[in-house]
Symmetry: C2
Subunit: 255 residues, 2 copies
């Protein structure tokens, strides 16, 4: 069998240690092409660039891969332009991350890392987003490398159900303290926003968005539970947003 073709992207930007760790693992599994944002794109969700131009630059960051490009757009733009302008064929796998910080629970919807993986899924490419529960730039990705390799290998071997993408989150633990892997549902949690209001030197108010993550979901089958209890969480994610369970009720309305 030919070596698998693997597209690597992220949302923290092409020089982030998380994507460099991911590249080093993927090189053991196949031919790697990197197309990632030229600057941090956290919390960009599924944004795409339609009112501005996109720039693509061939770069060499650490001699890990031959085909590496930085892109001026969002993580979703990176996947689109990689598939259309750089890759000669549809890749066998798209991996996004490793994100510096959690994308569990409701974070999946704000996440540029996961949106890039979801975009690949929409285009029919098996895709995984990886995130480590450590926001620091010098987070230690060594304890999770073997797990990343195992999960990506399983996806390369088995494929994924149509329209399904994996959202993988790792607890911040030493390798020997990781208890295993759990297939989970997304916990019903949310952010309680708090805006930090300040006044600029010219007397005009401005705000910083901050917030507190609140998980009221007591289920033991959620990603939050798994991560709090030392497990790697894997949530299968879909982009058919239809709330099928609500259709019958709505059909009873007088519209």
């Amino acid at each position: 069998m030919a070596r698998p073709l693997i597209l690597v992207t992220n949302d923290d930007g092409i020089i982030a240690p998380g994507i460099r760790a991911l590249i080093s693992v993927m090189k053991e599994l196949g031919e790697v092409v990197v197309v990632a944002p030229d600057s941090p794109q956290s919390a960009m969700g599924h944004a795409i660039t339609i009112n501005d131009t996109l720039k693509l630059t061939k770069v060499q960051i650490d001699n890990e891969v031959e085909k590496e490009y930085s892109c001026s757009g969002t993580p979703v733009d990176c996947v689109k332009i990689a598939v259309n302008e750089i890759l000669k064929r549809k890749p066998d796998l798209c991996v996004s991350g490793v994100n510096h910080g959690s994308n569990s629970s409701i974070n999946v919807i704000y996440s540029g890392t996961m949106s890039a993986a979801v975009e690949a899924g929409i285009e029919g490419i098996p895709a995984i987003g990886f995130s480590l529960l450590d926001y620091s730039w010098d987070a230690n990705f060594e304890p999770i490398k073997s797990h990343i390799k195992k999960i990506a290998s399983e996806v390369l071997k088995n494929g994924l159900p149509e329209g399904v993408i994996l959202n993988v989150n790792f607890p911040k633990l030493a390798k020997e303290d990781i208890k295993g892997t759990k297939i989970c549902r997304q916990a019903k949690a949310m952010w309680q926003e708090e805006f930090d209001k300040r006044t600029n030197p010219h007397g005009k108010d401005y705000y910083w968005l901050t917030g507190k993550f609140v998980n009221l979901d007591k289920g033991t089958d959620t990603d939050e539970w798994a991560l709090e209890n030392g497990y790697i969480s894997i949530v299968p994610v879909q982009f058919d947003l239809t709330a099928h369970h609500a259709m019958q009720q709505l059909n009873s309305w007088d519209l």
Copy 2:
């Protein structure tokens, strides 16, 4: 009963004719507060602003409402800052739009209009995104005003199931040619990207993202079918992205 409190936002920007039409309808139903982007934010998806500041400006566009604010952020930022900094209580309804252009099928995931409504849904506010299948700035919103009023009234009366938001799309038709309303599922369609590659005056390449919408879903229960056949489509949308149907299969993997 007190008059309902209604938050209005959009992604085309606060001066867009679509939001002005929506405001005029909502004034018939309750007390209206507008917090909308100060510039076009189409295709921003669920992006939020975490690496920059947000500015909020009290504005008066057309004397329709007393409380109206433009915000420098994304549609999702608008909802967050409205709920936290402007509204004295949780609103009874959040409406987003009317978008100039379709948000049916897979467009829901790229849409700033729908992401604003989804954010309200996450915060426990009944929410609806409205879109008209006409991209032009001078689109005619008159034929759909009575339908918007009817749908919003039903939501105010019945509420919505927990975690469910409505994605309403209107065909571009004369009022008498609209055949009715259908509760639909999201069609399995996608964009086939085509990048328009150009060279700038300094010899450097850049790209414009363009594409073609391709619907391969032949179902007659989809939003695309409804719209093509002269109906208003209503898709109930959820933000629990878990692909529950895939969990059993993944549990059989060797991880």
